[in-house]
């Protein structure tokens, strides 16, 4: 087995596109779920709206990249309002149900053949990334060092992605150390108590839902531009659940929890993927047990087992505070 390539692939994935996208989606979830306790199970829809808003405006409407970004952000705000206005006054589970349904509606609408003229149906959209890469100041070649050498295209999108990710982390840090963030954390613990202290709980929940959703839309921009394509089935419920996994691995309600969680998640996926594939090629695993086409599924099983172990032995996540979990159990 070629351990060199296994390790270098794993190290690349730590800073790779998926890590950035899922970390960003999870930063949004962190605002909603980690701090405010809102059960948004439709983060995939916010990511999809960002991605499609950009792709549709640029490719089908022929407008500029900036219009596409504005439409993606505006779309996320509208979706948050649509979901929040009817549900945020009700019990927490109503938001969960509404968001999970809305995410499927959004995905199915984007892949429907009726709207193909505007969304590309199940094939999605390509050819909208030109303006973004035209802004790339890097000339042809590879950039970076060690295992982290990337093409000028990938370097550019990773650079933009990581800068945005760090900015969002700083934003979350600033917000959550403020009295505004304190109200949010209070709502997570007991919204009636916060209401009894004169805070408009509904308004705070709405703000958290919008902020988290817009950050999710930014994850969609990076997803679309990094892949140079949007495709409806990339925005299924598993995107949301991966983002939750990332958040819980890193530690909810921790500023850098999502970033560390995403890096670990994709590191482990890359390791299991490469190790399994090479073990089959080298004949260590008989093809009667597993063939190379099954690696994709099996690695998720292994990741699942690893996550279960993590949740058993470190339920607070990497960054979490053990004392808080103990309080929850009371």
């Amino acid at each position: 087995m070629d351990w060199g390539s296994i390790i270098s692939n794993a190290l690349r994935s730590v800073v790779g596109l998926e890590t950035v996208i899922f970390a960003m989606a999870a930063v949004g979830l962190n605002v909603q779920f980690g701090y405010a306790g809102l059960l948004n199970f439709g983060q995939a829809a916010f990511v999809a709206i960002g991605a499609y808003g950009l792709a549709i405006m640029v490719f089908f409407a022929g407008l500029s990249l900036w219009v596409g970004l504005a439409v993606g952000i505006g779309g996320a705000v509208v979706l948050a309002l649509l979901l929040g206005v009817p549900t945020l006054r009700l019990r927490a589970d109503y938001l969960a149900i509404a968001t999970i349904a809305a995410a499927e509606i959004v995905r199915i609408a984007f892949r429907s053949s009726t709207l193909r003229e505007w969304t590309g149906g199940s094939n999605g959209i390509t050819g909208f990334d030109g303006q973004f890469y035209a802004l790339n100041p890097l000339s042809n070649g590879t950039y970076g060092f060690g295992p982290w050498r990337f093409s000028e295209r990938l370097t550019w999108v990773l650079l933009v992605g990581w800068v945005l990710l760090i900015l969002f982390c700083v934003l979350v840090w600033l917000l959550m150390r403020s009295p505004w963030g304190r109200v949010l954390k209070g709502i997570r613990e007991d919204e009636d108590a916060v209401r009894s202290l004169g805070k408009n709980v509904y308004a705070y929940k709405m703000q958290a839902l919008i902020i988290g959703g817009v950050i999710g839309a930014f994850a969609g921009f990076i997803y679309a531009l990094g892949r140079a394509a949007v495709q409806p089935d990339l925005y299924g419920t598993e995107l949301t659940f991966f983002a939750y996994t990332v958040l819980l691995v890193g530690g909810a309600a921790r500023v850098f929890g999502p970033v560390v969680g995403a890096a670990i998640f994709w590191l482990v996926l890359s390791l299991t993927d490469n190790v399994l594939a090479q073990a089959i090629n080298a004949g260590y695993v008989s093809s009667s047990i597993m063939n190379p086409n099954q690696v994709g599924q099996v690695r998720f099983m292994l990741v699942g087992v690893l996550l279960m172990l993590l949740m058993i032995y470190r339920p607070q996540g990497i960054f979490g505070d053990k004392r808080e979990i103990a309080l929850n159990a009371r």
């Binding site: 600033l174 009295p179 505004w180 304190r182 009636d192 209401r195 009894s196 009371r330």
Partner: protein, 326 residues
Amino acid sequence: MPADSSFHTGVPGATVQNGSRKAVAVAALADVPREPGAPKPDPILVADDVTRRFGGLTAVDVKHVEIQRGAITALIGPNGAGKTTFFNLLTGFDRPDTGEWRFNDRSLARVPAHKVARYGMVRTFQLTKALSRLTVIENMRLGAGGQRGERLMNALFRPAWAQQERDNTARAEELLARFKLDTKRDDFAGSLSGGQRKLLEMARALMSEPEMVMLDEPMAGVNPALTQSLLGHVKDLREQGMTVLFVEHDMDMVRDISDWVIVMAQGKIVAEGPPDDVMANPAVIDAYLGGHHDAPLTEAEEQRQLAAAEAELEAEHAAAEGDGAR
């Protein structure tokens, strides 16, 4: 009330002439008729025709009630009488089927809970709501009203709220010291005992500088060693010019601290008066026994029924304590 704001500083020294306000409250209530819905000389809260039905059950059906400003009023009644529901209605946590009520001459019917609190009527809950994963001091800071840093646009710019935060923290620390929670300042609220949580919830409510404090069973589940200090704090609120309305089961405590007692049974107000009058009132004894018994034939029988009623109250209180300890 602006005139009283100096009493809300939380400084122990503000409690001058201890007991003076009790005398004022008792004197003001001396000539009030001992009957349900009695008008008070200076009511802070007036409610009319407040009803709340849950399906076929009428949980609250209050024709008229007034709460005297600056006094400690106890709301008593057997379990299920509708006391908590009435609290929920008055504070905007539940919507009535009918009814109007005015706080400081401002109508509060259909006003959302957070606005009720901002107008100066703050409540605590029968089941304590300490915010477990916030520290004690963060719980306290959250209680303060009108915080600039709680607006999203200001939140990002610390200079916009840092000074106010320091002032609130100083006030919170004074209150914590008064409630003997200062050693717990940086602990998670979830790590406190049941009684300490009750204290914290009360102290946190005071951070908003309310005019009227509504306490739903503040003593339930509190370790007897703490009840005396809790009682002291409730009396302090009156000395600082606040109005207190509280629900309590323990008759000794009610007798000890309240200036006026209102009795609820099956959603209705069945009696009002000073503690000693009310506890001798047949309608009250009736309420606690369920009202389906024959009138006592002899004085001895009456004594026996009274004792039985008190035993029932004790048992209820003990049960409530058990609940609170969990």
